[in-house]
Symmetry: C2
Subunit: 335 residues, 2 copies
């Protein structure tokens, strides 16, 4: 059996079963995006790692090294933010072909440092190794979170509402424009969507407001696609869900690209991935308050896109015409 | 200018200059093997990352996945040990080709877990990504160290002695036997040297004894080769050094392989790398005491191989015939 046959999540489950408990203090271990660890003080320690592989996550000709550096760190900041945490220290592991230009690596680091400054992260070390082929950038990021503010995937309750920040599908639309530069769209749309794909901005401030409000019950960042990521919440919380395609927040620019693609825009928003928006759950009664707080502090809109159901109800998507179909992941999976 | 032109350490220096201080609390940052970070409690937090790249660090046909998993974690444990620290939590980032056998990845994890249990490390998470080519394993390892026990590269003083644990050159001799299986040596030598190369055992217990003794002034693990790694101590401590080739501790098995290679054994011991022994410095008066303590607690011999000189004296190697030549790194450098 090959890695490609069992898929990313199947493989993670198999490997998690092989890992025994060699040490106390693990609050959330293997299987989540971020490990939650007891530390000496009151606060918990967060740790996550994510990689960018040339030819898989990026093409060197389609992205400046500065953009790549920013993004490699930003996607990790997004993971820490989605736990309600504050990112602190980063380690950068680079695998580089020897014929790569030094100037390219320096630009990569300038991008890393730009995101580090934005997120108040200190780059404190790393590793460098020779590659026999392409570039791999692995970022390990630490963070901290107050015990009472941590937001796991596992806290959603039937009756809770599903909420998302910002707009969804922009990154997928941007990627489509990179892969199909001939698609005719207004210049402003192109600039906006490429920026959303190439320079994702983790919702750190929004996540802090949500965590500090103590109104949310579960949270995750939207990296694989809403359908897949809300599925992670359902699985960890042992609940079902109903999402309304019509309520997904979608930018006008993404609507126009979807039209050129001949696909409904909600499909991009539901399965696109790499938006790095937040998806979280909260009791229905808390929705107006959390929307108000996030809007006031950050101007970012929070939209209700679904509701959490009892586990036996399953996972459903209500299409714009009212038809209800099973919600499948269909988001990004490696392998 | 290419990455291969400036070399690993040249590139690290350039990149370190681009990284600003975005956050307080960094005791030792970029440029060392391990970052030392202030945390909430009394103890300091340690963080390191190291990668194993197929075709560069390992060949899939020359090493079982179990051995590879053990080694990928062991080399990080060695880095934490060399700071006087205790390893705690590991994150594993895997880049895998989709046609890789699941059984291979499971064996890799069994090896990781074996080393994790030996070192009392909890594997708490990671990441998985598709590779367009070979396997890359990146291990990020956290640890902890009491402030008064931390051992940096920067504490060596003129007059201190240079000490090493165990024997040097075994790993290089083992690698030679893998690359040249036709070399005739006794079976016991082959088994011993392959094991030293394929299953390095970090000197965790020895390092703890040295750190707790408070007798050492600087420490590093020997990963690149003694000549290179002692150079890191000299650079960070702003001191010179004199090593005696004749005093390097070398196993009989490595002596026999060196003879077949037509090279002096001390050359292998000085530049071979990947021995994961400890190199540390201590005042001359403390040498017998630290040797006794390590021997008593772990049975591992500690040998004096050189002395720290004032910075203006430079770095020297005394050959077996008494001739003194400049000590150059000549250890392993990427690119």
């Amino acid at each position: 059996m090959k890695v490609g046959d069992v898929g990313e999540f199947g493989l993670i489950e198999r490997l998690a079963a092989l890992v025994g408990v060699a040490r106390e203090g693990v609050v959330v271990g293997i299987g989540d995006d971020v490990a939650v660890l007891r530390a000496e003080g009151e606060a918990w320690l967060l740790a996550t790692v994510d990689s960018q592989v040339e030819g898989v996550h990026f093409l060197r000709e389609a992205m400046t090294p500065y953009q790549l550096g920013r993004k490699a760190l930003a996607i990790n900041v997004s993971d820490i933010a989605a736990m309600g945490g504050t990112p602190t220290y980063a380690l950068i592991s680079l695998v580089l072909p020897p014929d790569l230009e030094v100037a390219w690596v320096e630009e990569l680091y300038r991008g890393l440092q730009a995101e580090a400054e934005r997120s108040r992260v200190a780059v404190v070390g790393g590793n460098m190794a020779r590659s026999s082929d392409g570039v791999v950038i692995d970022v390990a990021l630490l963070g901290t979170v107050a015990q009472e503010e941590v937001l796991l995937r596992s806290g959603a309750q039937p009756g809770d509402r599903v909420l998302v920040t910002g707009t969804l599908g922009d990154s997928a639309a941007g990627l489509h424009l990179i892969l199909h530069p001939e698609v005719a769209v207004p210049d402003a749309d192109r600039a906006y969507l490429l920026d959303r794909h190439l320079t994702p901005t983790p919702r750190l401030a929004e996540a802090r407001v949500i965590a500090q409000s103590r109104l949310a019950t579960a949270m995750i960042d939207i990296s694989d696609g809403l359908s897949s990521d809300v599925g992670h919440i359902c699985k960890a919380s042992h609940v079902g869900v109903r999402l309304w395609a019509e309520r997904l927040p979608i930018s006008d620019a993404t609507c126009r690209v979807a039209e050129r693609m001949g696909r409904p825009a909600w499909e991009l928003a539901l399965t696109g991935g790499e938006d790095y928006e937040l998806c979280f759950t909260a009791p229905a009664s808390a929705v107006p308050e959390v929307q108000r707080r996030v809007k006031e502090a950050t101007r970012t809109p929070v939209v209700e896109v679904g509701e959490i159901l009892p586990p036996e109800a399953g996972r459903w998507l209500v299409l714009p015409d009212g038809e209800e179909i099973p919600l499948t992941a269909r988001g990004w999976q490696h392998f």
